[in-house]
Symmetry: C3
Subunit: 173 residues, 3 copies
Amino acid sequence: MIRQQSETDRQFILENMFVAVMDNIFLLVLVTLLSVVQNVFFALKVEKECTGPHSKPHSAAFERLSCANRNCMDTYPTFLAVLWCAGICLSQAPAAFAGIIYLVVRQKYFVGYLGQTCQSTPGFLFGKRILFFLSLMCVVGIINHLMLSYGGSDYKEYIQTITKAASTLLLLP
Amino acid sequence: MIRQQSETDRQFILENMFVAVMDNIFLLVLVTLLSVVQNVFFALKVEKECTGPHSKPHSAAFERLSCANRNCMDTYPTFLAVLWCAGICLSQAPAAFAGIIYLVVRQKYFVGYLGQTCQSTPGFLFGKRILFFLSLMCVVGIINHLMLSYGGSDYKEYIQTITKAASTLLLLP
Amino acid sequence: MIRQQSETDRQFILENMFVAVMDNIFLLVLVTLLSVVQNVFFALKVEKECTGPHSKPHSAAFERLSCANRNCMDTYPTFLAVLWCAGICLSQAPAAFAGIIYLVVRQKYFVGYLGQTCQSTPGFLFGKRILFFLSLMCVVGIINHLMLSYGGSDYKEYIQTITKAASTLLLLP
């Protein structure tokens, strides 16, 4: 009987549980850390432009960097939310892969930002396709969970394989 | 003995664990996805106003939309944080329900935004009651957990029933 | 055999699982709630400055508060992300402690904000050391997990003890 071994079992379950949780999120944590490093890089760039020896308080270059930084920050919570939901609901490897591509796209966006004020607001111009892919992963994961709960069929492994293959399509320009 | 069946058991525990985790978060994931769709809708609105044929770079309409968008984005991480904490600590159904009401309030706020500059900063003007309700759910969940850990009494089921009933009060205008 | 007691076991595993999850996150939830309260405090300050009897729409004081608020909000998702990753990957107590110190630093930053426009952009000026400490915790947690998975050695307890001791170093000015 299990309940008579309660203390040992609880320990055993917990150990396995935390290994399992870490197994399923450590790639997401790595991507999150990379994105944090990138955020700090962006902020230091803005700070340098602001306090450098040749800087003027309201120069065009400063406005440009500040604007690019703000657009990146505006979409950051949205990105984190879909990244983690997709990783937890379906599979972490494709989600982390898409996350890394998003970070590359964001880096390009920040570096190549032209700084026309009007361009500055729609921060979603970059990475729309990746956000859509991650959202799709969430939806598929939830549908699969509901089918498993109410229907009994579990296509999770097939879907994960398809998702992994599909995530490489994100590499297309 | 459990430890002698380690590999099979680990598999069994993990399968159950992921079904259980998904059971307890899929409504939160759905609300998060809805909020992401809304964010993209807001951003596209701003983008359209900005790049449309009749747009001027610094027109009043553009400033208004941009400001409403920024206020919504400013409170977005706060909303996500309390939504997920409340859903995990106590019960997902009332949290998701409150989240959906928050999204409706945010939609109304964005559409009906008057655009006076001074009104633009306090993004918390909308949905204060909902954020308070979600925070309260977190606090109750933590208190219940501490009582369960140190006292042994578990009122979680009663509290969940009360919370579900209380969440309908959010529908009051 | 475990599989023959499936329904009872599943119940038993789930009960233990949720107690265990709450055991490992309730401090993080508390810190998150505190940060939400602080966010609301900041927003109400800005709102009061904006709609008060002596306020002017574009006064210096208003710009100052609005700018401080925006800087705090810009770094908020980054802070939440590293706080939760560090707390889940390694140990919640030092992460929550660092989080509380971050909130104190943020409060000081908001209250003492001087409001020169150029200072306003680099929101990362405050709490860099804390964000670095939390990121380090994530990295150490992931390395430990990989060593446990592939090598078999588990230093998690030693590392947690060291982390707890190291977190007090954050108190140094």
